[in-house]
Amino acid sequence: MSDSVAVPADVIHDIGYRHYDGPRLGRRYATRSLYTLTLRGSFGLGRSIKSKILPMGLLALMCVPALIIVAVAVYLKSGKLPLEYEHYLTIMGFVIAVFIAAQAPVALSRDLRFMTVPLYFSRPITAGDYVRAKFAAMFTAMFVLTGLPLLIMWIGSLLASMGFVYNLEHFGYGLAAAALYSLLYSSLGLLIASGTPRRGFGVAGIIMVLLISAAVAGVVYGVVNRQDQSNAAYWANAINPGGMVDSTVTWMFKLPTSADIGVPSTLGGFVFLAEIIALSAAAYGLLVRRYRKI
């Protein structure tokens, strides 16, 4: 080794400022990036362990009973799942409500609380793009939560060689219910969450709207049903987002109804379906308006 080439190995070369001449992918790419980040955040991915516990726990809670149902059906060789796909979501309604209550504020109130929203709007995206990305991410997260257990049940039915056509058809009905839940809950949940930078208030607000409306609807149903044995009592579902989705799906696909779930009449079915769409659209519109003001 010669001494003349003794260049220290640990020199930091300051190469100065370099300009960026590569591609700029614009609004749609930025919106998609925000969607991906929000969707991952809905399940705590890319965040701390602490923020993974609740969403992952709820996802597990949604799926474990489906696994048990499948296992029992296979073991008993019953040839039929003991439960309608759609009805599974009705039973798990509480878990779905807790998930949207916990995760809708995660999607929005962080940006509000730490005032990151103005930074987003100093970028190419608009208020409309921001809401679109957040809503799409929340919808996808909800659809994964509600669709995954149904997928487990369907795969189970295939493994147990149950009726293929029947299960495919009813799996589809279940997915339709999952989509309606995702649509209505995401739009309502995000609207409520956008009202406060405090996550706790957002969680409490969503839980109140979903669970109290269900409780009130239950009471109204009971009172009306006692006096009037006709189907009029089913109108109570009009004030209960969860019941409304259940009733609409059972009516649309003529599925067996249970207890207080059902539509008062054919007209009632259309009213419920229209109400789901109108509520979701109104909540989405208000959300866009709320962010235009920032």
Binding site: G22, R24, L25, F114, F121, P124
Partner: protein, 332 residues
Amino acid sequence: MRPRCSRRYGLTVSVIITDNLTKRFPRVTALDRLTVDVQPGVVGLVGANGAGKSTLIKILLGLAPATEGTARVLGLDVATEGPVIRERVGYMPEHDCLPPDVSATEFVVHMARMSGLPASAARERTADTLRHVGLYEERYRPIGGYSTGMKQRVKLAQALVHDPQLVLLDEPTNGLDPSGRDEMLGLIRRVHSDFGISVLVTSHLLGELERTCDHVVVVDGGKLLRSSSTADFTKATALLAVEVTDRQSDPSFDADAALRERLTAAGLAVADGGGRVLLVEIKEEQTYDLVRDAVADLGIGLVRMEQRRHRIAEVFQDRPADDRPEEASAHV
């Protein structure tokens, strides 16, 4: 360096042009017929709180419509080309805007992607930019544990990460201690001198803009008060601050009065500079010699003789009532 102006606006190289820009809210007029023409460089926007600085920035980013008048940024119309402007402009807000639970790297990468940079370019530019603003190992720690100075650097980095042609910095020295303030001002200077990025920086502190900016625009109550180069502001009339001691042999002799008399007799304007300081107007090179000779003749000691500049603050202090431009227009 690549051309830093848009060709779409003819031959002019102005980064910001406003013409009779007016913004009225129901109760208050935030901007009142503001007409400025900002050239590349570091431009300071000075005004008291509520003078309309933040409103102007919002309009320039295409986020709020002007009530009247027009504005162009990099040759692009703010009313119709907001998204394109925001792709080429960086913005550092006055308020906190950083989530505490992510690291500076994660946050700035995300913001780079929000500006349209592909994932790999976003990571590369983030590492570069954080290094340029002076954040090293700490960039992997959550932002929640950062000092105010470090947070300001992250805010600056997210404004620079997509290599904009112009950055709008809203009160970047807010909340910093004097040394942090100096470092931030040095950094802002470098953004233009080393990175070739034009800067519009707002502040309500005149002193710091004096040191940092090439041009200063002063707004007050939404109106343009003055707009000219920093040199014009501070060099217009140079002053010589002179301080002398008494005669040791004769303490009762009023050295100040005697010197003042001598210099006035020589045709120089002398003012009281507070304490024992006399402010002498510098007419020409000989002024220095005149002062020196006068002091020597009187047999007194010269404590200091230094050139002193007018401060921008004087624009506010001794502004005659009719100094406000009727037609608020100027060319920086």
